[in-house]
């Protein structure tokens, strides 16, 4: 690896680490909050929805209770939602640094995404342990994450770069991104199975590039089947286009960040 790329990767690693540390610096639990919080979300959802027999998820083919199906889909959603929302403010939050040291601008939103990815990994481990403990073992299908996780990451990184750059241009973008997450959440089949969506609204859900990703997570982690490739190709295509737009924006706006944000 060329020394420049090595240095950039080292910077990204450090920025992601500081992002993890700084969020909870000075608290008693400190860095462990990055484990405690995802764990708490998973345990609470599972406790609430799995211990009550009134919550059922999906139709005849559904495997597992509402809780595990919800959590399996919630993990990639949280990766996207947290990564993009935090990255939207990354340039603004780091303007003190951007006006002091010439650092590749893309590293800041990427650091936010990296720390979200780490929490995502923690969530996967916790869910995996709980599922195994409960006897839900989808075995080899977990390896399907090696394909699906990069797609989720692609969408997150693309969205993060675009949101960060547009917020640098117009401060209204970050709150708009935050506001857009709620309708996006409800058009993503996280809290409901896709087949319950009325036909008239299904096109909205099908165009949502996160739909194939969360469905694939649920298939791999809970149901124990391989996801359909068509939807994932669509997600990948949207992810690549978003990433391309993000990179163009970073190249265009990155050198002007200190000036724009100063």
């Amino acid at each position: 690896m060329p020394s420049r790329a090595r240095r950039t990767m080292r910077l990204l690693r450090h920025l992601a680490w500081w992002d993890l540390v700084a969020q909870y610096f000075g608290s008693w639990v400190g860095l462990l909050w990055n484990v405690v919080l995802p764990g708490l979300v998973i345990v609470v959802y599972l406790a609430v929805f799995e211990l009550s027999p009134r919550f059922r998820f999906g139709g005849w083919e559904a495997v597992g209770g509402y809780g595990v199906n919800l959590v399996a889909a919630l993990l990639p959603w949280l990766l996207f939602q947290e990564g993009v929302s935090r990255a939207a403010n990354s340039f603004v939050d780091q303007r003190h640094l951007l006006s002091q040291i010439p650092v590749p601008a893309a590293l800041f939103p990427l650091a936010n995404v990296s720390s979200s990815l780490l929490r995502h990994g923690v969530g996967l481990v916790i869910l995996g342990v709980i599922l195994m403990g409960a006897g839900v073992n989808t075995g080899v299908h977990w390896f399907g994450l090696l394909l699906v996780l990069p797609i989720a990451l692609l969408l997150t990184i693309g969205g993060a770069l675009v949101a960060a750059c547009l917020t640098a241009l117009h401060r209204d973008v970050a709150p708009t991104v935050g506001a857009a997450m709620l309708p996006l959440f409800f058009t993503t089949p996280v809290i409901y199975p896709p087949h319950v969506v009325p036909e008239a609204l299904r096109v909205v859900m099908d165009l949502n590039p996160l739909t194939p990703v969360v469905t694939a997570y649920r298939d791999l982690l809970v149901t124990g089947r391989w996801p359909l490739p068509g939807g994932l190709v669509w997600s990948t295509a949207v992810g690549l286009v978003t990433l391309g737009i993000g990179l163009v924006l970073v190249k265009r706006i990155g050198p002007e960040l200190a000036e724009r944000l100063g």
């Binding site: 240095r7 450090h14 000075g26 006006s99 010439p102 117009h170």
Partner: protein, 412 residues
């Protein structure tokens, strides 16, 4: 070897409209106009100029955080910059973590960072606070940590904007000493500050920026002289009766004793008076007491136009027994060798009930805060700075064939 080459540098800022809009603003401001200079390795260039002259923009471009609109900036080696008091630190991280972050961003690996940590902390003088979050630091503490970190990052070019004159006096001296040490180790310095005295001790060349353009470049003495002339020409010269920048509160004269006339070198009630460094100066303060006043003190002070209190004297310090003032009289202050160097100074004259208490409350019998502007000329041989003293230089050479002697005396 050239450490910094700035060629035909122009920088344009687009001005933001008052209200946010989606349309691109056409209003623009050229912060730098055709700035062109080089700095050899190990050299030190000080940038001076009024606020808004483009100093910070130039330094930000050299540091690489702003891009030139036109022109090029070439640097050799590691450029380390301190462009603002927070030095890019994260408010939620500790001082130590911030040092690590800054060092990492400058390409240092963990081992090298830790090898320098003790020196950084020791120089900053913040060992008791280094593990506290930055948000608990004062501005001065942040500046100390920022400069200390930057100075220990082995810079080939150190860019410092207004930081050397910040912090407490002890740290200012230490940071100036560190800057000189870095230079002796081959580091190139590009420094901007309004503290002209600091620049003269660190830099061998100065550059004057004015509305983004280079107006002068050369020795500290020449460029500062040009700067002062331009400041005076643009209305920065001190004016009779203008309020002092610092040092004296407004006063409410009691009129028990009034100053009726002030004569400077024989000139009664002058708006402006003149003298020469090393020449005599005499100030007569005529007064009239409407009722007997016991133990009044007479005070004369000299302020530079930036408010610096450069000299003052009073009858208590002189051990003069003033006694009871009744009716009319004259107090006389005589300097056989007036020692201020070239410049314009406010002369403040007052009659006070005591030396300190009334001065802090502003309760004078009578007080003329800027009674007169005293213009002082000084020969080059009188020296540089604020004050000139009779002195002599002699150099004894080995073998003792020739003895070189030069003398400056108070006599002009």
């Amino acid at each position: 070897m050239t450490a910094l080459a700035v060629r035909g540098l122009w920088k344009r800022f687009r001005l933001r409209p008052e209200k946010a809009t989606l349309r691109r603003s056409n209003a623009e401001h050229w912060a730098l106009r055709n700035v062109d200079f080089t700095l050899p390795s190990g050299g030190a260039l000080g940038i001076i100029g009024a606020n808004g002259s483009g100093k910070s923009t130039l330094l930000q471009i050299v540091a690489g955080v702003l891009k030139p609109t036109i022109g090029t900036v070439d640097t050799a080696g590691r450029v380390v910059a301190i462009l603002n008091p927070t030095a890019g630190f994260h408010p939620d991280l500790s001082g130590r973590a911030n040092v690590r972050m800054l060092a990492t961003l400058h390409g240092f690996d963990r081992k090298r960072i830790e090898s320098k940590m003790d020196a950084v902390v020791e120089f900053s003088g913040l060992d008791a606070y280094i593990d506290q979050p930055l948000r608990t630091y004062s501005a001065g503490m942040m500046i100390r940590l920022g400069f200390s970190t930057a100075a220990h990052l082995e810079p080939d070019l150190l860019v410092v904007d207004e930081v050397l004159s910040a912090g407490d006096l002890a740290f200012q001296r230490r940071s100036a000493g560190m800057a000189r040490q870095l230079r002796s180790e081959g580091c190139t310095l590009l420094v901007s500050t309004h503290a002209l005295g600091d620049l003269a001790t660190i830099c061998d060349r100065l550059m004057l920026l004015e509305r983004g353009e280079m107006r002068a470049e050369g020795s500290a003495e020449e460029v500062v002289a040009t700067y002062m002339q331009r400041v005076d020409a643009e209305g920065g010269a001190i004016q009779p009766g203008a309020p002092l920048v610092a040092g004296l509160r407004p006063t409410a004269p009691t009129n028990q004793v009034r100053i009726t006339n002030i004569t400077i070198n024989g000139q009664p009630n002058p708006d402006r008076a003149g003298t020469t460094c090393g020449a005599p100066l005499e100030i007569l303060i005529e007064y009239e007491a409407s009722e007997p006043v016991d133990d009044a003190i007479f005070r004369v002070q000299f302020f530079r136009n930036d408010g610096l209190f450069v000299h003052g004297h009073n009858t208590v310090r002189a051990g003069v027994e003033v006694g009871v003032l009744e009716g009319r009289g004259v107090a006389r202050l005589h300097y056989p060798d007036f020692g201020l160097l070239a410049g314009d100074y406010y002369v403040s004259v007052g009659i006070w009930p005591d030396e300190y208490r009334s001065y802090t409350t502003g309760e004078a019998y009578d007080h003329r805060p800027s009674a007169c502007i005293l213009h002082v000329d000084a020969p080059r041989s009188a020296g540089a700075g604020v004050a000139g003293f009779p002195c002599s230089w002699s150099i004894d050479k080995e073998p003792a064939s020739v003895r070189s002697t030069a003398v400056y005396t108070a006599e002009p």
